[in-house]
Structure formats: structure tokens, C-alpha cells
Amino acid sequence: MSKYIFAIYNDEDVLMQNIKPLRNNGVRIKEVFSPFPVHGMDQIIGHKRTRISICAFIYGIIGCCLALIMTNYMMITDWPMDIGGKPSFAFYKNLPAFVPVIFESTIFCAAHGMVITFYLRSKTLPGVTAFVPDTRMTDDKFVMQVECNDNSKKAELTALLMKHGAEEVKEYGK
């Protein structure tokens, strides 16, 4: 497993500007932690586009199909009801009345499926111990996670990070 050191920045723009020069100097930047979403950060670090909205679309289709099957089975196949002289014996004739339920089920499955996927993929679940290199990173500091496998090069790397705008460089838990 790789070892890391953490460079603390005061300003998100300074951090972003320095990612490229640092990488040109051979520094391996794994992640950046910030107190709020910084626009364009994911692209600069090189994260792929998230596919979570595609998941939501698929969950929505599943929800829609489940509701279609449910309404058809319950009201057309299993126990057709003659309500107010308006029998529900054909699915296509009854469909307009089922639209609200089908719509709500679509949204229900898409929304909850997406949020559950988000929690699982981001490992944000109850009981998870957070990875906190510096407690100020949720307040107003920006933390850059930098790979440092060779202890002898740590001083050199620290100096390089400080030269590139970092306020402080530290190890995890120190």
C-alpha cells in the first residue's frame, strides 16, 4: 500500500493552479479534500465523469416496469373490479388511471436507487470511520493527498509542495 503526505492549502484556486506544475515535477496527487464542491476540481485531478445519473435512469425504468406489472396484475389479471359501471378489463383502456401510480413508482425507484448507489460507492454509510487527514478540511482548508513511498525523499517533496503554495505539509494523524 502506498504512503501519503498531506499538503494543506488556504485557497482552492491556489491549489488548483498548482496541480499541473506539481505533476510536471513528478508529484503523484491522489485526491483533494475540500469543505465544499470546487468547480472543475474533478477534471483537473482526472476523475472520470460519474455514471450515477445513468444508474438513476435505469432504476427509473425498473420502477416504471414494476408499476406497470403491478397495476396490470392486480387490476386486470387477478381481480378485475367493476367500479361505477366502468369495468377495468383491458389494460390499455385503464392505463390513464394508472399513470399517477406508475409515475410515482418511477420517481421512487430512481431517487432511492440513486441515493443508495451514491452512499455505497462513496462509502458514506452509518458507522464508517471518516478519513480525516486534517480536521480543518471540512471547515476552510483544502487538503491535497500526495503519494510519498520513499521516506528519504519526504523533505524534498515537502519543500516542493511549500514552494507550490502549500501552507503546511503533514502526515496522517500527526
Partner: protein, 466 residues
Amino acid sequence: MYEAPIREPLILGDKTNHEITEDICRPIEGKANKYWWWCFIASVAALLWWVLCVSITVGQGIGMWGINNIVDWGWDITNFVWWVGIGHAGTLISAVLLLFRQKWRLSINRSAEAMTIFAVICAATFLLTHIGRPWLPYWLLPLPNQFGSLWVNFNSPLVWDTFAVSTYFTVSLVFWYTGLIPDFAVVRDRAKTKAMKFWYGLLAFGWTGSSKNWQRFEEVSLVLAGMSTPLVLSVHTIVSMDFATSILPGWHTTIFPPYFVAGAIFSGFAMVQTLLIIVRKVLSLENYITTLHIDMMNRIILVTGSIVGIAYITEFFIAWYSGVEYESYAFINRATGYYWWAYASMMTCNVISPQLFWVKSLRTNVTFTFILSIVVNIGMWFERFVIIVSSLHRAYLPSEWGTYHPSWVEVGIFIGSLGLFFTCFLLFARFFPVIAMSELKTITKTSSTQAKRAALEHGHSHAAHH
């Protein structure tokens, strides 16, 4: 991102990101002040009254209420529709304003969403009590015959309502909670005591704020907003169909869905104003919830209030224009019959009073806004009462004519539901970050006072060069 320097700032008082954290965490970390305790004690007292009245209803039956064979929906459904409607503003602020990239939503979306959740809980209590046998709520769900009923009837708006309200509640809840996670992490990382570290650590779900997580977070927020927008419109549309699909004069109206949705947003924004004007005072958040925010919300109240007013007048016109005598009678009777005072209250509070917001000095006046927001909610309560009771008390046949007066138990449940709502909201304001600070920090560089000043100075020095 560029923003014109002359546009008013959204965060006052030269706040840095750290000061934002401090200001918003202070109420959670410190001790509650005496205003909070007084409000909390009053709310819990009302909540206990609610427990008593609900117990009487469940123990003795619906006969303890004033409803009868003729007016079989009274305060129960009035309150249900009122509470669901109030909930709509929270979703409108967090979802629709997000889609329109309105940055002023950032200071108010958290508490507005909390209001949504608690309002829908209150609404649900009325659904549960009005069914008479609240220990059988699963009869509303599509369960097979062995559970005691046939399949539910999917042609019925009441079943649509079950699906709509439950989807709305759960989706609003996860939307709200997902937004809260980064802020819980802030409180966790600042926590001084072991208990706070444990509880907020648990609530924060191990959030770190890595750029990958933020990327997913933003995508999830955007897609949830995109889904919540049609969802919120569908909910009050379906609530209005509980009435509109019947054949009762006064209910059998195609205008109901848009008119109910506009009314819901109208009353919801009024409730947001009532709550936020108290919250900003009690928690000293005047720098974040500014008169600009109040002005913006008042404009929405003005627009939706005007839509509601036009809907009332259109309804009246169509009742006459249709040439249907039952329809005409229902409306004339509303305005001049037994419940004329309810109709008059509704027209005054909903149609006339919001028009005062054309005046800018009134729109930006906090005290006036506070009073008017309560007036609007009284008016919107009367709207539902007028629609439900005045339509039911004079149906087609004279044998279907009667009157309705609520019993003390019904009144108690309503007052108690306010207690339930405010108890939840006060606990929220005490233990949860009331402003979405992680989102608010995204605009300190563009919309704070210091950013505006810097932009103006920059502009001046730029002009001096030429």
C-alpha cells in the same frame, strides 16, 4: 464564476469560510437560550394536547369529531391539504431554484426542506387519524387479500395520494439528509466532547469531502432536483384530484391541479417566512438570511398569490358561464351562504393582502412580512375549509343539506399538529446545521460583501487606467 458587482451580496458582514462555520455551528455547540426553551415548552405542551386528542379519537372513534353524514370531511382533510401544501415550498426552494441556479436559495434551503419533512409528517397524521382505524394503515397499500382487503383500487385518487405522499416524503427526506451529510462532518470535525464526536460522526456517515465524493454529490443533487420538481407538482395535483374527480359542485373542476399547486407554493413560502424570520432573530443569522432573501420570497408570494386570486375569480366566472345551476349555486352559496365568513376571510387574506407586496418598502420590512406571512397561512387554511365544507354542506338534494362545526377534539388535533411541527423544527434548529454551510461556502468568493467590494474596486481601478 462572474457575477456583476452591483448585484446585492448574499452574505453580509465580510464573512470568511471559517466565520461561516463558526456562526452556523454556534447554536449547535452552545447552550440553548431562553427563547428556545420557552418555544420548546409551548410546543411540547401542544404536542401533548395532540396526543390526548388523538388518543380520544382512536379510543372512542371518529364520532368524537364534529363531522357527520353530510359534511364527512371537515378539519381533518382541511388540515391535511394545508400541511401538504406548506411542505411544497421546501422542495420548490431546494429543487426548482437549484435547477434555475438561484444562489439565494443557499441560505434558506436547509430549513425550508426541514419544514417540508415536518409538514408532511403532520399531514400524514391527519390521513392516519381520519381513516378511523389507524391500526390498519396497511389497507392503503397494495397487499394481497389475506391481509384483510381486496387489492387497492388503482383508479382511485385516494390510492394515488398514498403513492404520491409516501414517495414525496421519502424522496424529500433523502434529499435533505444527503445535503446534511457534509455539514454533519463539519460539526464532527469540530466536536470537543466525546458524545458530540460520536453522534455527529454517526450522522456524517464517514463523509470526507474528497473531490470524487463531491463530484457524485453534485450529480446526485442535480438529478434529485430534476426528479423532485415534477414530483412536487404531481403531489398537489393528485391531492387536488381527490376533489376534482368527484361529481360534487365546487369540487368537480378542471382548474384544480394548477390552482392547488400555486396555492401550495403560496402558503409554503409564507410558512418559510414565518419560520425564518424567527430563526434569523433567535439564532442571530441576519448576515445570512438578509432582507434580500425576504424580498425574493415575498416576490414569489406575490406571484403565486396573484395566480391563486385569478383562479378564484376564474372559478366563479366559469360557474356562471357553464350555465350549470348546481355549479352556480355552489359558488353563490360559498360567498353568501352559511359559511360566507370563511369565504370572506379567504378572499381578504389570499387575494387582497399579498397585493401589498407590490410596494418595495413593505416587501423588505421584516415585521410586516412576518405578520403578512401568518395572514396568508390563515387565508390558505380557510381556502381548504371553504372548498371542503362549503361544497359538502349543500349537495344536490335538500336531504344532503346540513352544517358542520368542529368538536374540541378536532380543534385540539389541529393545535396539537402545530405543536408537533414546531417541536420537530425546534429540535432541528438546536441540533442540526440550519444553513447548508458547505453549499454556502461556494459563493463566498462571488457573493459576499468583501467579494463585491473587491470587484467594485477592481472595476474602478480598471476604469482609471483608460
